[in-house]
Amino acid sequence: MKSNKRRARTGAWWVVVLVVLALIAAACASDEGTTTTTTAAPGTTQAGDDGGTTTTTAATPSDEKPRMVVALSDTVTTVEPHTFRSTSAYAVTHAVYEPLIVQLPEAQDGGWLLGSRSDHVGAGAESYDIQLTDDGGMLATFTLREDAKFDDGSPVTAEDYKYVFQRSIEGPGYIGVLLPFIGISSADQLTVIDDYTFEIKASVQSPLFERFMTFQVFGALNQALLDANATADDEWAFAFMNDKSAGSGPYFISEYNPDTQVILEPNPNYWDAASVANSGVVIRTVPDATQRAQLVRSGELDVATGIPERLLPELEADPNVNVIEIPTTGVHYMAMNINLIPNVDVRKAIIAAVPYDALIDQVMFGYAAPARGVVTSQMDTYDPAIGAGYATDLDLAAQHLANSGETDVSLVLGVRESRLTDQEAAVLIQENLRQMGIDVEVQVLPDADWAARASAGELPLLIHDWFSWGEDPFYQMQFLTQCGSFVNYSQFCNDTYDELVNTGKFSVDQAVRNDVSSQAQQIMFDNAIWAPLWSTTRTVATGKCVTGLELGYSQVPSFRFLTKTDDC
């Protein structure tokens, strides 16, 4: 009995000693020689039992092309291409699904690429033609590449592109909400002329039509695969596509672990496979932004997004890191709910009291530009004469407040728990408004609670941000400020304003667009529904030797040309 106990005790001590030794060995062991690289070789697409391509492949990477490691600002939630998803998830689907056309990539200083705002080139389509029609619509004809193939090797045909648009219109995803913007609302407007010719007849003349065609959500889907995995309850195979790829773009998903890692392997059947500059991309989730910054500095990450602005000066000073800065049309704003703050003079006082410059300097550390309105200072049709009115003027604020006749103004400002910059901005705004005699209670709310309360119109003040794919002013005005929009958090409704926005979004005449946009901007300013805080500068940190990162209308990074050199 005693000897058994002794043996057990001795065994326990051995476990302890081994664990200590293992930890010491862990600390002392070299990084070299302990990693087993496993990647998929070009040409080895592996299908899962259900026909999808999620199985991890094991093969050898290209000898010359590097494997890139990327950490984005949030987790990949789903890779279903027509479901609303996180930014990281959009980056994944952007790599997998090829639209008919894409923005022409233009080289920038520092070795990265920016999609042209004016020039588009064929992608899934070899050529295309868009004509205005006499009935006030548009006719777009796309001639598809005959050598385009899905990752399983099957050819991409016009039926597959028709299927994508039809799925967008009739499926349960969110894309159908966007299509009326370019005059598409029915599958009857989609015609397959032959296997490689596809036609879209839009009911309106939208200057955004061509831009919309570049969006990843209209990338070809392998209809045969989806049909095979559709069910009676899920005829568009949304459940199947939750974690699968079925595209014809430069990559396919070889490993999918939501919240942890997604691996993109080059699509061996991609029509322009030679242009893919890397042997695959690993998208890692690194939830803490400070650690993302340190990992890119140490070289463990090639690309990192979502780095807090306060860390960017330090990164810029690091010789091992490049920081890409791209002014965007995205806007950060404080919405004022006109139902809860009905006095327009109070709202004007708030607008004049917001410390716009301090926000850019102290919260954004200079990585932002003045927004100046819902049509931001970086945006087409922006009217600087109106935008200049969004400036800090405490005397004017006091005057507006006096005109309002209100005393003891007390308001709640709701900000999201996940947005540290919003919380910091709220504190600066709170301080300036306090000087005006307006008492602001900053409420940091869980994101879901914030969303529910904002949608229900329960927050008098809230900070929100927005980026419009396509970067169109009327698209931005429609979603953020038009009557009935889901994210019109000011609850602003003005018939004249809505009419102007509708006129602008369906006009291809730039003079008309400029004119109606100015009128709309003036109405918005007069009604004082927003304090436009800043216009976002997108920043991406890359390793010093990393080149070829591409950003376009969506600001979602594209990895096709991403690579790194040893001799930089």
Binding site: V19, T34, T38, T285, E300, A452
Partner: protein, 329 residues
């Protein structure tokens, strides 16, 4: 079993008290009321609470924890996929905490009020008062970023490393079982910083408990008698002192381990550790009720299981408990 049933019932109502609407988050900014309503219906969020409760209960007891509204994935699968990472982290953190806390507690009690005891008490105060995230940040900054002794906080293994075929889910053990000691060392390297972070902080309560229990034991009548009759000091220390202190120490370790099962959210977040704590944190942010319920249930069941194990350990440590059982039978 009654405890588990209690957990299952209580968690359902608790998560529904959380403010916010997951359907709105899921729908995204391009949605409209109709889309949000469709999502609510799809995930059963528009059903009356009693109906939701009935569906929930019938599914839970068949092992189905529902579908995450955030990822559309099966919650049971997602939790089971992440659980080994959390358990491995918790296990080694508790082992390290015990390795630090128990010997320090014994020495501090044996050399009461000496400089060793004072150092141990300082350590205990530091460990109790130090914020986990701050210690984690310090360790990452110095041991990874500056000195490069340990790998960066990026996951359980280096990028490109294939994990071992799963047997236990613990990468260190599975790698060893497959004879891949290089991989085992790499797994330990990635474990090291989060384990040290947690182990340092968790060693404090164990140290305090061991010290206090040992002092009580060493001041007892029978120990004084043993000393008087000339029993060797080391024998008194370990056979009479430590053995009597084992019960409260086991309790302390059990509590610490239980805390670790659900409470290492910060460390998992900081070190990009793919465990259930991080999963729960993300679920809370977007009101992912099913995921949150699943997390609480799984951790609750583990906690109950842990308590059973502790009871068995009690019986093993203290023969009186075993004898008591026999008498009762």
């Amino acid at each position: 079993m009654a405890t588990v049933i209690g957990i299952v019932i209580i968690v359902f109502f608790i998560v529904r008290v959380l403010p916010g609407d997951a359907a709105i988050v899921r729908a995204g900014p391009y949605a409209n009321e109709q889309k949000v309503a469709e999502i609510r219906q799809q995930y059963g969020l528009s059903d009356p609470i009693p109906v939701q409760f009935r569906d929930y209960i019938s599914e839970v007891f068949t092992g189905n924890l529902g579908v995450s509204i955030r990822t559309n994935g099966d919650v049971t699968d997602e939790l089971l996929q992440r659980l080994p990472a959390s358990l491995e982290l918790a296990f080694y953190a508790v082992v390290l905490a015990a390795i630090i806390g128990i010997p320090m507690g014994i020495i501090a009690a044996a050399r009461r009020d000496s400089w060793v005891d004072r150092m141990a008490r300082v350590f205990a105060v530091l460990g109790s008062s130090m914020a986990l995230f701050w210690l984690g940040l310090l360790l990452i900054y110095f041991l990874f970023f500056k000195l490069r002794w340990f790998p960066g906080p990026i996951d359980r293994l280096a990028i490109g490393t294939e994990p071992p075929d799963s047997i236990t889910g613990f990468f260190t053990i599975d790698a060893a079982l497959h004879g891949d000691f290089g991989l085992m060392v790499e797994a330990f390297r990635y474990l090291a910083l989060p384990v040290i972070t947690l182990g340092f902080v968790l060693a404090a309560p164990i140290l305090k408990m061991v010290r206090a229990s040992m002092i009580d034991a060493l001041e007892s009548e029978h120990v004084r008698t043993a000393r008087a009759i000339g029993v060797p000091y080391w024998q008194i220390l370990f056979r009479d002192g430590f053995r009597n202190a084992l019960l409260p120490v086991t309790t302390a370790i059990g509590i610490v381990f239980g805390y670790m099962l659900g409470g290492n959210v910060i460390v998992e977040f900081l070190f990009a550790w793919p465990g259930v704590g991080r999963y729960a944190y993300t679920a809370i942010q977007v009101n992912d009720l099913e995921a949150l319920q699943g997390f609480v249930i799984v951790v609750g069941i583990l906690y109950v299981g842990l308590n059973v194990v502790i009871d068995l350990v009690y019986a093993w440590i203290d023969p009186r408990i075993r004898l008591g059982k026999k008498v009762a039978a």
